[in-house]
């Protein structure tokens, strides 16, 4: 079956509805509404954290208070002021005693949720014994807590640690303490400070020296409970000469209210290490009138600490009412490489302000930015990027290509790059185009037998190919489907 055919059939099945919009009926344990030091202590106590982490959180909370009314305003997104005292900062599926030791102890309702999302956790675990390597290890985060991580044992044989960050705090405190906040400090920005104070769970990965992680690591994030935000924290460390590919998927129920997702992701690549981080983000985008949807305010940053290290971000952003996200790379090690490949769609009344920062600090560092933005309906989309070459980064190279595709005359596509070069031996090149799907292209496809939606889907997939082919195969297919679904109804 061709990807396109699959897309079309998926569209038919979904018939224009957000297909992940269901709600799991499960008992939830919640923190009291609002945010103060007591809540921070409550979260820390719930997670039985050591004193140092509580102090770390409290410091972040005080920084956040200091940043009050300092929410970023420079982004091209518009929404009513968020009352941070109205939200609930901790929600967890209720369970007795300790967390589940195996999938058998996980609430079956939860397992069914992940199956509906296309992530059969149990099957994965069973297959592990049969099919061996080549599978995907999954960490499933439901509201604020990680509910299951598959393949842990197999990974442990290689020395790879893949577990919820709360577990890593308990079992590998020295690693967490050393790297937590080392790339995104607590006071980095308003949302990062908030996350640092109240982060609930997320994934932790450590790949030891010289190890090529034998399978894709994956986290599926799911916001379920009403009136909550999700504040996960992911920390990935690739030690010298190691390599890891990490995938992240996100969905949320369809609700009339806006829900806040303020995550922080930190990546550390030491000498000769390589991290590939892929995201397919499909949070609920809200309805055609702009009601509901996720506010996706995320800080993602990687540090190429060692020489010859590499960090690659690939993102397919189809969901969320508002996206504010700039996965960045600090190119500290000589000859280190940073990449950013992005497809973002804004349909309905979605607003996306996304891009990247490539900060060249070491010599002969290289970065590539390929951004494809698609606006339709009343969507507004901005690429915002920074490429900076510091005075010691001789031989630095950057290439940036930003293309915007507009579908219909009520949407907007904007490109705001900022290039700052302080070394004469650097070469930085940026190109951008904005255009629409031409009538000639559409007619050509229709003359060959494609209906208008198929034609648009095909042209858009072609437009995005340079980015999609960066994704691991399983994700690429899903991403292609999502592009088609997200643009449903975009052509009149």
């Amino acid at each position: 079956m061709t990807p396109l055919r699959e897309t079309v059939e998926t569209v038919e099945r979904a018939s224009g509805e957000y297909r992940y919009g269901f709600v799991t009926d499960i008992e939830t344990e919640r923190a009291p509404t609002g945010l103060n030091e007591e809540i921070v202590r409550f979260i820390s106590a719930k997670k039985e954290e050591p004193e140092w982490l509580l102090e770390w959180r409290l410091k972040a909370f005080r920084m956040w208070l200091g940043l009050e009314n300092r929410e970023p305003r420079w982004a091209n997104v518009h929404f009513p002021k968020i009352d941070f005292q109205e939200a609930c900062y901790y929600a967890a599926p209720k369970q007795e005693g300790d967390g589940p030791a195996s999938l058998d102890e996980v609430d079956p309702e939860l397992l069914r949720t992940y199956e509906k999302l296309g992530i059969p956790l149990r099957e994965q675990e069973v297959l592990a014994g049969v099919a061996g390597a080549g599978n995907v290890a999954v960490d499933a985060v439901f509201d604020s807590v990680s509910v299951a991580t598959t393949f842990k044992d197999k990974l442990a044989e290689m020395g790879v640690i893949f577990c919820p960050i709360s577990e890593a705090v308990r079992d590998h405190p020295e690693l967490v303490r050393k790297y937590l906040g080392s790339v995104v400090p607590q006071g980095d920005n308003f949302y990062a400070a908030l996350n640092s104070a109240v982060f609930s769970d997320g994934s932790f990965v450590y790949v030891p020296k010289g190890v090529q992680c034998p399978m894709e690591l994956s986290t599926y994030f799911r916001i379920n409970a009403q009136g909550t935000g999700q504040f996960e924290r992911t920390l990935i460390i690739a030690d010298e000469g190691s390599r890891v590919s990490y995938l992240e998927g996100c969905t949320a129920p369809q609700r009339d209210e806006n829900q806040l997702h303020a995550a922080v992701v930190e990546l550390v690549a030491l000498k000769d290490a390589e991290i590939k981080y892929s995201t397919v983000q499909n949070w609920y985008p809200g309805d055609a009138e702009g009601k509901g949807g996720i506010y996706n305010f995320v800080t993602k940053r990687g540090a190429c600490r060692g020489a010859d290290s590499k960090i690659s971000w690939t993102q397919v952003e189809t969901g969320s009412a508002i996206t504010w996200k700039y996965p960045s790379v600090l190119l500290q090690g000589d000859r280190s490489v940073g990449e950013f490949y992005s497809v973002a769609i804004s349909n309905l009344r979605q607003q996306a302000d996304t891009g990247t920062k490539m900060i060249h600090l070491g010599r002969d560092t290289r970065s590539t930015i390929i951004s494809k933005g698609i606006s339709a309906g009343r969507g507004q989309q901005t690429y915002r990027g920074l490429v900076r070459v510091q005075p010691k980064a001789g031989g630095a190279r950057n290439f940036t290509q930003c293309d915007s595709l507009l579908i219909g005359d009520t949407c907007g596509g904007h490109t705001v790059p900022y290039i700052d070069v302080r070394h004469p031996g650097a070469e930085v090149a940026h190109e951008a185009t904005t255009s629409r799907i031409s009538d000639a292209q559409l007619f050509y496809c229709r003359q060959r037998g494609l209906d208008p939606e198929e034609a648009v889907s095909m042209i858009v997939n072609g437009f995005c190919r340079d980015v999609l082919q960066q994704l691991p195969m399983e994700f690429a297919v899903e991403a292609q489907k999502l592009l088609g679904i997200s643009l449903e109804g975009a052509v009149g």
């Binding site: 061709t2 055919r5 031409s438 003359q447 060959r448 037998g449 494609l450 208008p452 190919r465």
Partner: protein
């Protein structure tokens, strides 16, 4: 010959409120190769675009019957599914979409509309390779983006390739010979001739007679100032070659 596959009656059409087709009458039988010739601005391209269903062409009068159906009432993709193919005068580039994917997706979209099963990738590839061989085209064609970076001749050959793969019942070749050198012309003509059979109708739209030396038409119609000014057999094309269109130009 039998019942016409395509029958056009008193077709009038305007572009930007300017009448270009001023009452066309034309019948083409199944299996017939009809050449439509005419000077620049006579309405040749308008006719092919109206038949294929392109936006921006307003039909103000008349009708077009195709295989007993009202062709003008159909969407472009419906026309394609019932076997109408247009080889574009200016084939369109679609960056990022690979030729093989495009052609197979089109083929399966048409098959689905006709209630036929999809062709799988392996069968498709076999057929595609054989077709490419006949058209003296490199297999590399399949992996390249649709028309992107193609030379003029490659684009036209790609149209013929798609036509061969989609096996239409009515193929409209809109100035397929324009911009081709003699070798490319011969290859294209071979491809077109290979498609000729008693079930398939070809409408060859051209300014010059030279394509018709290779693709010998059953009938020739002169389009001038939005009307069929004269119809005849192959001899008419040769006559036009000698005398030019002067006799048909508006005073």
């Amino acid at each position: 010959m039998s019942e016409p596959l395509l029958s056009i009656r008193n077709l009038r059409a305007s572009v930007d409120d300017k009448e270009v087709l001023k009452g066309i009458d034309l019948s083409v039988a199944a299996g017939e190769v009809a050449a439509i010739m005419g000077p620049n601005g006579s309405g040749k391209s308008t006719l092919s675009n109206v038949l294929a269903g392109r936006d921006g062409y307003e039909v103000t009068d008349g009708e077009v019957r195709y295989d007993g159906q009202d062709l003008l009432a159909m969407e472009p993709e419906e026309r394609a599914a019932t076997g109408v193919f247009m080889a574009f005068q200016y084939p369109v580039e679609i960056p990022g979409v690979v030729n093989a994917t495009f052609t197979r997706t089109a083929l399966n979209a048409q098959r689905k509309a006709r209630g036929e099963s999809a062709i799988d990738a392996i069968d498709f590839l076999k057929r595609a390779r054989a077709t490419l061989g006949r058209l003296e085209m490199d297999e590399d064609f399949l992996r390249r983006d649709v028309n992107a970076g193609f030379s003029g001749g490659e684009k036209k050959r790609n149209e013929i390739f798609q036509m061969a793969m989609l096996e239409p019942r009515l193929a409209i070749l809109d100035e397929t010979d324009s911009g081709l050198d003699i070798d490319a012309l011969r290859i294209v003509a071979t491809g077109v001739n290979a498609m000729r059979n008693p079930e398939r109708t070809l409408v060859v739209i051209t300014h010059y007679q030279r394509l018709l030396e290779y693709v010998v038409p059953d009938s020739v119609h002169v389009l001038a100032d939005g009307r069929i000014a004269r119809s005849g057999d192959r001899e008419l094309a040769l006559e036009l070659e000698r005398a030019g269109y002067a006799a048909f130009q508006p005073a």
